[in-house]
């Protein structure tokens, strides 16, 4: 009897390895939380001085006058910057949603074999192009093109940045949208096709409704990407403070403002704090967008939670 008791209590190598791995992966998981919290604490602390001493809600969200370097009367109105980011992101979505949905539907539902695999690799490659390269395309190709085609004096504007940003966001949106389509079980397609539905009817009546949440999530993540993008927008938008009234107005984005000005400010100054306040605002907006995307994805999972479950087989009656 004593040996049996001993075996039940002895912790062997496998037990210790399991324990160690548990702790390691827990640390990995927690690190994500630690980093995101750390970033939030950092930008909040840097921005806190400005928010409590100088921040004026009505000026920040209501005034387009962003003149932080003025010696006698610096103003911190972020409205033009918010409008710049919003207009560029909005146009980018107009460009990227049809492109990415079309590409995802083609890759996921119509293309087969080689074509499909090749396209998937190409789209993923496209997603890996650095944003500064997109900015360069905006500067050197889109800029003269817009001047020539639309006969406007400046080609660095909402149109340029929106198109560049749209093309930039499209690949990642395509990949996520295609994942959402792929998550729709093939049995749905087969069942609808066996009823005599054409490929397009299957896609439009069955697959797209089933994948709706994932597609919305893909779009929201694209919005988040556009909102947070800095370099390409800085290079293509013209970087001048404006409340845009047409696609041919130059604008300045929140992100580009931080990137361009932060190096020039004295740490702890009002200007420095104001830039961090823009950062807090960006952080909150992207957080909200990602959160919304997450809610949509989870909604989709809940809706289909039974789809993979096989009912118990019946006995031979």
């Amino acid at each position: 009897m004593p040996e049996v008791a001993h075996a039940a209590d002895r912790r062997d190598a496998a037990w210790w390895v399991d324990r160690a791995v548990r702790i390691l992966v827990l640390a990995g998981g927690l690190s994500a939380i630690v980093f995101i919290a750390g970033i939030f604490v950092f930008i909040t602390r840097e921005g806190a001085g400005f928010v409590f001493d100088r921040f004026d809600f009505r000026e920040f969200f209501g005034s387009p006058r962003w003149t932080p370097t003025s010696s006698h009367n610096p103003t911190y109105g972020a409205l033009a910057l918010i409008a710049g980011t919003a207009s560029v992101t909005g146009l980018a979505m107009v460009v990227s949603v049809p492109f990415s949905l079309g590409a995802a539907i083609y890759i996921g539902e119509f293309a087969t074999g080689r074509v499909r695999e090749t396209l998937k690799v190409l789209v993923e490659l496209l997603a890996a192009i650095p944003s500064v390269v997109w900015g360069f395309i905006g500067l050197s190709i889109m800029n003269p093109l817009i001047i020539q085609v639309f006969n406007v004096p400046v080609g660095l504007n909402v149109l340029n940045a929106g198109v560049i940003l749209g093309l930039m966001a499209a690949p990642i949106m395509t990949t996520i949208a295609e994942d959402a389509l792929k998550a729709v079980p093939d049995t749905y397609r087969e069942a609808a096709e066996a009823m005599g539905a054409t490929r397009w009817q299957v896609t439009f009546k069955v697959v797209l409704p089933a994948a709706r949440n994932g597609l919305v999530a893909a779009t929201l993540l694209g919005v988040g990407r556009g909102f947070g993008e800095t370099m390409a927008v800085l290079m293509a938008s013209g970087h001048s403070i404006n409340l845009p009234t047409s696609p041919f107005d130059s604008v300045r984005a929140l992100t580009a403002t931080i990137a361009a000005e932060l190096g020039e400010t004295a740490a702890g100054s009002d200007h420095y704090g104001a830039l961090f306040t823009l950062g807090i605002f960006l952080f909150l907006v992207t957080f909200a967008i990602n959160f919304a995307a997450d809610v949509f994805v989870r909604g989709g999972q809940r809706k289909h939670r039974r789809r993979g479950r096989r009912p118990a087989a019946s006995a031979n009656p």
Binding site: Y188, A191, K303, R307, A312, N316
Partner: protein, 261 residues
Amino acid sequence: MSVPVQASEVPDRAIEVEDLAIRYHGKLALSRVTLHVPSHEIFGIIGPANSGKTSFLRAINRMDLMTAGMEVSGSVRVEGRDVRSWRNPYALRQRIGVVFPLPVGLPLSIYDNVALSARLRRTRKRADLDVIVERCLRRAALWDEVKDRLDSLGSLLSGGQQQRLTIARALSQDPSILLLDEFSIAVDPVTTMRIEEVLAELKSEMTIVLVTNLVQQARRLASRTAFFLTGELVEVTETEAMFEGGAQDPRTTAYVEGKFG
């Protein structure tokens, strides 16, 4: 080039199969199948796994078109006409209802599941659709259970209900042929008996091909039964004879008596 329309000598044969062979990526799955299914008959197909039963069904409604690597040779005639001569295979599939082994409640509402086929054929009026939906759900013995929640998702019904929903959807096509592929795998015995009663009634309106792994189910329903084994058709015999020791091939007798498979 399209094959000319062939008038069948025996007009009441719903399905005529001559020397059918099916390959997947060149590998033979089913060969030398010749059989005829008269109209308004329940035709049983039994046989162990991998005997080619499902492949046979897939050839009838031209699902080879959407299955990579599937090749069909020989001829399959539906209502006297070779299925490969239909220039619009979607129209062929609309005339053939299919029920798969595992229930497929599409992720639409119960109503939309049953109305889908009619909508694909451009029936738009709500009143017309209402009639179709109620009739098909009643015939699939599901109406009483779902009539108060037609707007809830079909994919959230229980397994047995989903299978009846699938049958209702197949009936909504108003098919002349109904192909059932081991429909009772995921259904409880009581529901299975209810569906079997429905099938016996449907026989007067359509031809039913019943692939089943339950030999007793074939015995209860089918007037004639084919026995498939490892990709070959062993025989087609009157069902009662097959079960009463009158099978032509000893392997069939052994299978229906439960000696293998």
